[in-house]
């Protein structure tokens, strides 16, 4: 082959290659636009991560500001009896609201889905969902705990405060808007004797759950620690009545 042919052949090959690449580029670009895949999804994913990071940072700053606020209150009311009293009241209020970590005597109750059963091993008349823990079971336990005068409750690191809700969203349980899964560790502070007495009696809530097939474990402890509420308590609709 002489030089001229080589050049022409190479030129044609380059031409074909470039054309093919550009055609493919455009095809994919159009396909992505129609299917709404690729570009849009990655942008959205990016945004989600960005806002989560912003939230994480702001939350950390919020915790720091809470600490500083506490320091300001302390130093402000040092010389003032009236202010000191109010500060103590405020501290108590924050504990009651669930905004601080607390510890004391109490109990730990563990409930979990019974994983040892499958659709084959149970009787024909039974329902496998009976062997799993439901949102209703959890708030019935919470109700019984309140009956036994507990002073703080948490389920798997989610503090149960006055406005906490426990709901089912499809297959998962949400507490305070966060997903919580089995096993559920319910920690509470109060008199262990009163709590165990109230829940573990015949026909009590524990009996009821165990008869359903859920695995329940309960023990009193000399010291348990319950974390603080991790969200923001904000009121938008209520105000003091005139």
């Amino acid at each position: 082959m002489n030089k001229k042919n080589v050049c022409i052949t190479l030129g044609i090959m380059c031409f074909l290659l470039t054309v093919a690449i550009i055609i493919q580029f455009n095809t994919i670009k159009n396909a992505n636009m129609i299917a709404g895949q690729g570009g849009v999804s990655t942008e959205l994913k990016d945004e989600v991560l960005k806002w989560k990071e912003k939230y994480d940072q702001t939350f950390k700053e919020l915790e720091k500001s809470e600490e500083e606020l506490e320091i300001q209150r302390e130093s402000a009311s040092n010389n003032d009896l009236v202010s000191s009293e109010k500060q103590e009241e405020l501290k108590l209020a924050n504990i009651l609201l669930g905004l601080t970590q607390v510890s004391g005597r109490g109990t730990i109750i563990t409930v979990e889905d019974n994983k040892n059963v499958t659709s084959e091993t149970i009787g024909a008349l039974e329902n496998i969902s009976d062997y799993m823990v439901h949102a209703e079971d959890l708030w019935m336990i919470v109700n019984e705990l309140k009956n036994a005068r507990v002073e703080a409750i948490s389920i798997n690191d989610e503090r149960i405060i006055a406005n906490s809700s426990i709901t089912c969203e499809g297959n998962v349980i949400l507490i305070n808007g966060n997903v919580v899964s089995s096993p559920f560790v319910i920690t509470s502070i109060g008199s262990p004797e009163a709590i165990i007495g109230a829940l573990d009696r015949p026909d009590g809530i524990i009996d009821f759950l165990e008869r359903d097939g859920v695995i329940v474990n309960m023990e009193g402890k000399e010291k348990v620690t319950i974390p603080k509420y991790n969200g923001i308590i904000d009121v938008k609709y209520i105000r003091n009545a005139d």
Binding site: Q24, F25, I28, K29, A31, T42, E43, D46, L49
Partner: protein, 120 residues
């Protein structure tokens, strides 16, 4: 001395990396492939040091060029809808294993010769 600078560099990298801001999700796939390319360069550097033919310029240029080339290939692959990055992974990891074998053999031979010497 060289080892010291490596350790210091790594420590600094850890400290700053943990506190660095989040990179955009879209670039994370490019970053991943360039890390693999760079690691391949590192292994290549180690094995050539042991063989005695370490060339600093080849090492540094390979480090950065491999990373850049793999990023470009991944980008091209996304535009053409061909998963080119898969091939780069195969090549780089394959080379890592080859280099690792060389390193391993080198040290095993060294250990063997030492044993022989002690026997005598």
């Amino acid at each position: 001395m060289v080892i010291l600078s490596i350790i210091i560099g790594c420590l600094l990298g850890v400290i700053i990396g943990v506190n660095a801001p989040l990179i955009p999700y879209a670039y994370s796939s490019y970053l991943a492939i360039s890390i693999i390319a760079a690691l391949d360069s590192v292994f290549g550097g180690i094995s050539s040091t042991l063989k005695g033919n370490f060339d600093f310029k080849i090492f540094v240029s390979g480090f950065f060029c491999n990373a850049i080339l793999s990023i470009l290939l991944t980008y091209l692959g996304q535009k053409l809808n061909v998963d080119i990055y898969l091939a780069t992974i195969v090549v780089f990891v394959g080379r890592m294993f080859t280099n690792l074998t060389i390193i391993r053999r080198h040290y095993l031979e060294k250990w063997n010769t030492k044993k022989e010497q002690n026997k005598q």
